[in-house]
Structures are given as structure tokens and as C-alpha cells.
């Protein structure tokens, strides 16, 4: 593990970011753009699945199922945000890998990220189930909301902990 961290830290891109003023600042902004896009889209999607948007009087059970079954454009937007956040996140990590690995807040954030991604995978597999699809979709949405809210809190906390 230490050798891997050394290798990442020694990467020329990481070296450049470590001492670049506007390069690092821009990367930080890109990371925010990524997770902001992800978070906004996922919250809108999850709240729809949880049934929080008022339904029109003539709407039927089918409307609720729509939010559950048809792939939402919000998920595509969220996925793009996640891709941006992951890429920029790795680059930010490469600037001081030893410091981040040694920070329990950061390590917790990685674990929560794993849970969030696992949640998506499990949801995809479970979408094959035909009994209680709404209930399962809502459980997924609940876990998703908890994970991504926690990710933002932990992400901000990193600067307030460790060295």
C-alpha cells in the first residue's frame, strides 16, 4: 500500500497539481461541479421515487410506477456528475495520498461512496423482481439520499480534520 501511495504521489500530474495555484483551484471547482450535478439530479430523482411530488388529481397508480420503472433523464445527469466527481476526486487524492489515507474522515467517505455505488448495483439487480417494485425502489432511494448527503458533509469535513 505505501508503495502504491508513493507511486501515485510521484505521478507527474500529481506533482504539477501539488504546486499549481490555478490548476489546483480549477480542479477543486471541477470536483464541486461534478458532485453538485450528481447531488441535484439524484435528490430530484429520489424524492420523485419516494412519492414526494404532489400528484395531479387525475393521476393513477401508474404515475408512481413511472418514476420507479422508466429510466429517468435525471439518472443520466447524475451519472455524468459522478464520473466527473470520481475523476477529479482521484486527482485531488493524488496530490497528498498519504495524508488523505491517514485521515479517518476521508476513509469513511470512501466507504460511504462504496455503499452508494453498491446501492445502485443492487437496485439494478433487484429491478428484476416483480413483487413490491415500489417498495424496493423507495428503499434504494432512501439509502441513496442518506449516502450522498453524508458524502457532502464528510467531504467538507476533510479540511477540518487531519493535517
Amino acid at each position: 500500500m505505501p508503495e502504491l501511495l508513493d507511486a501515485i504521489a510521484g505521478w507527474p500530474v500529481a506533482e504539477w497539481l501539488r504546486f499549481s495555484r490555478y490548476g489546483y483551484a480549477t480542479l477543486s471547482a471541477i470536483h464541486i461541479l461534478g458532485f453538485a450535478t450528481l447531488f441535484g439530479a439524484i435528490v430530484a430523482h429520489d424524492l420523485a421515487v419516494l412519492g414526494l411530488y404532489p400528484r395531479k388529481p387525475q393521476a393513477t397508480h401508474a404515475t408512481n410506477m413511472d418514476a420507479v420503472q422508466s429510466p429517468s433523464p435525471l439518472l443520466t445527469v447524475a451519472a455524468s456528475g459522478l464520473a466527473l466527481a470520481l475523476t477529479s476526486g482521484f486527482l485531488l487524492f493524488s496530490v497528498r495520498p498519504h495524508g488523505y489515507i491517514g485521515n479517518p474522515v476521508f476513509v469513511t467517505k470512501l466507504i460511504v461512496l462504496a455503499v452508494a455505488i453498491l446501492n445502485v448495483i443492487v437496485a439494478r439487480l433487484l429491478s428484476q423482481r416483480h413483487d413490491h417494485p415500489i417498495r424496493w425502489a423507495r428503499r434504494t432511494a432512501l439509502v441513496s439520499l442518506v449516502c450522498w448527503i453524508t458524502m457532502i458533509l464528510l467531504g467538507r469535513l476533510i479540511a477540518f480534520t487531519g493535517d
Binding site: L17, R18, F19, S20, R21, Y24, L47, L50, G51, L52, P54, R55, V95, R96, G99, V105, T108, V112, R138, L142, L145, V146, C147, I149, T150, I152, L153, L154, L157, A159, F160, T161, G162, D163
Partner: protein
């Protein structure tokens, strides 16, 4: 009486937010971002640098002050450069004098540097904060 159709989803959404806040605001170590953690009063330290970890997002020096190890936060690379510091100035073995604000809990032995001296040369990191 019919129960509101949005009662359960609203409850679940509130539960989600409550859970996230609970997990996300776990008790922390010292909060030391920016200047909020400092005393507001300056102190001066003199010692030898035992370790220098410079670079984004923030640079940190370990300084041996009369046998005690202090953590001195210096600027990001652009700030240090602007102050006149060059590569090789802040390295292990160098004698340094630092003026800055310590952590509110003095036992932490943490200082955020406002300016520092290498020999007779002065380097000002935060010009607006020089007393």
C-alpha cells in the same frame, strides 16, 4: 378518515436527512480551517524544521522548539512564492523564527504562520494580518 398520501414519503425523506446528518457530523478532531481555530493573539516561535510537507492544499512544517514538536501551517505554494520563499528554503534542518496565531488550545502546539524569518530575511505570508 383517509391518511394523507404523502405522509409516508414525507416521513421517509425526513428520516433520510436525519440519518445523513447523524452519520455525517461525527465528533471531530480539532477544527483548524482558516483562522477560526486560532486565539486571535500572536505568538513567536524559534526552532529547527524537522519535516516540511509543502504543496496544495496546505503546507505544513514540523518545527522542534526547545525539544517540543510544533506544527506550523505555512501557505499554499503560491502564497509562499509571493512572500519570496524559494524551493529549498523551507527544508529539514533549517532554523526558523515564526510569528502567527496558535490554536485556541495551546496544548495542540499548532500555529498558523503570518510571517517567518530565515536568518535575517523576512517572509510575509499574510500582509493584512501583520500586527
Amino acid at each position: 378518515m383517509t391518511r394523507s398520501r404523502t405522509a409516508r414519503p414525507v416521513f421517509m425523506a425526513r428520516l433520510a436527512i436525519a440519518l445523513a446528518l447523524l452519520i455525517g457530523t461525527v465528533p471531530l478532531a480539532v477544527a483548524h480551517h482558516g483562522w477560526a481555530w486560532t486565539t486571535g493573539g500572536n505568538i513567536e516561535l524559534t526552532g529547527e524544521i524537522t519535516k516540511a510537507e509543502l504543496g496544495n492544499p496546505h503546507g505544513v512544517l514540523s518545527v522542534d522548539v526547545n525539544g517540543e514538536e510544533w506544527l506550523v501551517e505555512v501557505g499554499q505554494p503560491w502564497r509562499n512564492e509571493r512572500a519570496g520563499l524559494k524551493d529549498g528554503d523551507l527544508v529539514e534542518g533549517v532554523d526558523i523564527r515564526v510569528e502567527g496565531e496558535p490554536s485556541a488550545n495551546i496544548e495542540d502546539r499548532r500555529l498558523k504562520a503570518i510571517r517567518l524569518w530565515l536568518g535575517t530575511r523576512e517572509f510575509v505570508l499574510y500582509p493584512n494580518r501583520v500586527p
